[in-house]
């Protein structure tokens, strides 16, 4: 579905990702982990067509991602954006409705189908009680849920998330993970998520890719990729600090 081949990316003289090969098949659920500065976000940016590769290529359904028109790309890949501050007061429902931008015909605005998708996304994320609240009054965690709802309303076959649980308490972290599993298993959405929490990655994702120093060092099931030796080597911490379901089992 989406495939990076020999992908090298960088910013101004600094190479961040070198020769990465990563292929994500339709319906897969994949977590990308690695220490800070390993290049996880850059890899996501390149794979979603935001950052042009220095070498190698990214293909979406067999087409070079930089050649896919923006609107078409936005209908194929939904990216949960960073939690941003809005300059003006805006009700949550209107923010979520922005997720329908790639689908709306120009000029007419939201159609009934779009409104239904917005309502569906709000319900699914469980933020119905926030609907008419001003986005700027919400806590960081609540805002994060709203931004996930924007991407869900976008209803793209591929969902990409960069640390979707960064601002969430443990209850909401689990809720979001369960939502991702549900979107993946029930709707067939392909999910690609950067996660910091190895326990969440191991517990909720059948495939984990470990990135270190701009290279993919491991790719497979949590049991294969998140062994004690690798955690010590890649993250430089005592594996006992990370109690993984797979480590115990």
């Amino acid at each position: 579905m989406i495939a990076a081949k020999g992908l090298t990316v960088g910013y101004a003289g600094r190479t961040v990702i070198e020769g990465a090969d990563l292929s994500v098949a339709p319906g897969e659920r994949l977590a990308l982990v690695g220490p800070n500065g390993a290049g996880k976000s850059s890899l996501l940016r390149a794979m979603t067509g935001v950052l042009a590769p220095r070498a190698g290529s990214v293909e979406l359904l067999g087409e070079r991602v930089e050649h896919v028109p923006r609107k078409k790309l936005a209908r194929a890949i939904a990216v949960v954006p960073e939690v941003a501050d809005l300059p003006f007061a805006m009700p949550v429902a209107e923010v979520v409705a922005l997720g329908r931008l790639p689908h709306e015909p120009p000029l007419t605005g939201l159609r009934p189908t779009d409104a239904a998708a917005v309502d569906g996304a709000i319900e699914r994320i469980g933020i119905s009680h926030l609907r008419s609240r001003d986005m700027r009054e919400l806590s960081m965690g609540e805002r994060q849920l709203v931004f996930i709802a924007v991407a869900v309303a976008q209803a793209a076959p591929i969902l990409v998330l960069d640390e979707p649980t960064a601002h969430l308490d443990i209850r909401h972290q689990v809720d979001v993970m369960e939502l991702l599993v549900d979107l993946n298993e029930r709707d067939g959405t392909t999910v690609l998520a950067v996660l910091h929490d190895l326990a969440l990655a191991a517990h909720f994702f059948p495939r984990v890719v470990v990135l270190a120093d701009g290279r993919i060092v491991s790719d497979g099931t949590p049991a294969e990729t998140l062994g004690a030796a690798r955690i010590r080597e890649v993250f430089g911490v005592d594996p006992a600090l990370v109690r993984l379901a797979v480590g115990a089992g």
């Binding site: 935001v50 923006r70 990216v79 003006f88 008419s132």
Partner: protein, 358 residues
């Protein structure tokens, strides 16, 4: 006490919610206000003209229809040659500045942005000052050197800020705003120098800086109208891009918006509307900054509501303010607007703590 405050909060929140859910009601009220300022603007002044007479003059002039109301030649001149072009020009300028202000605030994600944020004001003022100081009298169908150079100055400074400020990348917006400030400062220094050496012409430069609608005429109105109305309509057609960009550049890009292209187009359109407005009426402040905020307080931030309602409200506000300015003896319209409008805005802001949110 506490219960009273709570009840007031609930009431204010209820009213705000009621208004927000009914943008058409707001639009209707604004349209009525606009029509009212049209009738009053033409009718009131040193000579009063009844609405029926105004109507008769317009019908006879435009459609050559006589509805049986006797019109004296003096009334005909007052309505057709003096007041009507002035009222319509006020509406046109108010509309253009309000739409441009709403656009700049949304694009730059900055509530303090106004139509002059990219240095258009200083650019236009320098152009006007040069025109005043040059010993050349050039008039082409009612457009003097001053109009031409003010228009060119506004566009040139917007273009310069846009080029120097760059568009993409992290911190792009801050860089653009700071570039606007820096270019504006240089131009302001040039303007100050020009005023310093201007001598007897100082008054002319000063009256451009204050802005005013005394120089309105049909020809100027008809030349500026397509620029302002055209830009405003094109901006409205791109309203959803403006909405998407409220989420920030990265998020907007993922929603399928070509951010740098859309921003370039929208900045160019808003600068065009601003330049056309300042060229014929000088620097009129307040309307472009405040009207979009008041409208957002009433109907929320979505561009398909904010832009058209701001256009109508800006038109109504400026024509009402110009009427006020005319009635008290031709004081600058910006003074009237700021004196009467700011307290109203302050009240709204104060109320926004209970219910509304800016």
């Amino acid at each position: 006490m506490a219960a009273g405050a709570l009840a007031r909060d609930v009431e204010a929140g209820g009213l705000a919610a009621w208004v927000r859910a009914r943008p058409l009601v707001v639009g209707l009220v604004v349209v009525v206000a606009l029509l009212l300022t049209l009738v009053l603007g033409v009718g009131l002044g040193s000579v009063r003209v009844a609405p029926a007479e105004t109507f008769a003059v317009i019908l006879s002039r435009v459609f050559d229809i006589d509805i049986g109301v006797t019109i004296t030649p003096a009334t005909d001149v007052i309505v057709w040659d003096l007041r009507l072009p002035r009222v319509l020009t006020a509406m046109l300028i108010g509309c253009g500045l309000a739409v441009a202000g709403a656009t700049f605030q949304g694009l730059l994600r900055n509530p303090l942005a106004d139509p002059y944020v990219l240095g258009t004001a200083s650019g236009a003022a320098v152009g006007a000052a040069i025109a005043v100081l040059l010993p050349i009298q050039l008039v082409v169908v009612e457009f003097g050197l001053l109009h031409g150079l003010a228009f060119a100055g506004a566009l040139a400074s917007a273009w310069l800020v846009f080029r120097l400020g760059g568009m993409g990348g992290a911190g792009g917006l801050t860089r653009l705003l700071l570039t606007g400030y820096a270019v504006g400062s240089v131009l302001a220094a040039v303007l100050t120098m020009a005023m310093y050496v201007s001598g007897a012409e100082l008054r002319q430069i000063f009256s451009f800086l204050l802005g005013g609608l005394g120089g309105s005429s049909w020809v100027r109105l008809i030349v500026a109208a397509p620029l302002i109305i055209g830009s405003s309509l094109l901006i409205m057609a791109r309203g959803r891009s403006l909405d998407g960009m409220l989420l920030g550049d990265a998020a907007a890009g993922h929603l399928g918006i070509d951010v740098s292209r859309e921003r370039g187009i929208l900045l160019a359109l808003a600068s065009m509307a601003t330049a056309a407005a300042v060229a014929i009426s000088g620097l009129i402040g307040f309307v472009g900054l405040v009207v979009p905020h008041v409208v957002r307080l009433l109907v929320g931030p979505a561009a398909h509501r904010v832009l058209p309602i701001s256009a109508l409200a800006g038109a109504a506000l400026l024509s009402a303010a110009d009427l006020g300015a005319r009635l008290v003896g031709d004081v600058p319209v910006g003074v009237v607007m700021a004196l009467l409008g700011s307290p109203f805005f302050l009240v709204l802001l104060h109320r926004s703590r209970s219910g509304y949110e800016l």
